[in-house]
Symmetry: C2
Subunit: 167 residues, 2 copies
């Protein structure tokens, strides 16, 4: 499908959704996306359980992004993250991706506390890679918009799967 045809499909989808029966009193809403703006072209997992399942079955590392929509740090990082071509391509081809606005019950995902934005990698063996950290010693798993190179290096580390290292 060409990009022009894809655009047309997107427009038709957007238009068709305006003809659904129920419209809230406050007016038509734009359907929520699973990407939340962090990469509309990525296939996001919905839940941690689903993400773990996909990571194991595809033998691909999982990136878990914790964010809040009303957090200016999250929003600033989102811009850099979503517009970085290499990060997006690598995530699409080699990772399972999940973004969450709510903490899970798994405390391994918050090795140094619960804060946003926070990026934690999980190996397909379901081991949280708490050794893969960002550049800040006070919050090991956070990144600033200027840290995309550091993040990309960390993604390369995550791609070296633990099982392979052990062999």
């Amino acid at each position: 499908m060409t990009r022009a045809a894809a655009s047309l499909v997107l427009v038709l989808v957007a238009l068709s959704s305006t003809f659904t029966k129920y419209v809230p009193k406050s007016g038509q809403r734009i359907p929520q996306s699973l990407s939340r703006g962090w990469g509309d072209q990525l296939n996001w997992a919905q839940t941690y359980e689903e993400a773990l399942f996909l990571s194991r079955s595809r033998n691909k590392p999982l990136m878990v992004l914790f964010l809040l929509e009303d957090c200016p740090h999250s929003q600033a990082l989102k811009q850099a993250f979503a517009n970085d071509d290499e990060i997006q391509r690598t995530l699409d081809e080699d990772f399972v991706v999940l973004n969450l606005m709510q903490e899970t019950g798994d405390q391994h995902l918050s090795p140094d506390g619960q804060y946003v934005p926070r990026i934690v990698f999980v190996d397909p063996s379901m081991t949280v890679r708490d050794d893969i950290v960002g550049p800040y010693s006070n919050r090991l798993y956070t990144y600033e918009p200027t840290d995309m190179k550091h993040l990309l290096e960390n993604m390369k580390k995550a791609k070296k799967l633990l099982k392979h290292n052990e062999i």
Copy 2:
């Protein structure tokens, strides 16, 4: 915002997303929606944890929908469900909604087994309402497309919160 203006916004959003940098080799994708077609105008929770939090804080019952996208029964039910104006309005105004393609760790959500489609209500007190069942004795929490009235009656039962009943 008028419906025409809302349509325009949707078209612009669709168009703008065609100008993002990264495009998968297989071609532009339509961003995934949290509704999965079960009600584009509803504010869907993403995870069970988030849904429980919203249900408690808003004192509204939670509807959990288990579905699979390649299951013909789920797809048939989706049509009836998404096009039922009263169900959609009631869910939007009085419920927290969550749809899941993956089971959670909470076995209370599968009182008679794990199957799809399955609809389970949870009280804001975080009690699974296993007393609210559909018309089929073999699979208590499933519904057919013709059962929307039964489902609506069950939604009314779920709206009578357990705490209120106890007073």
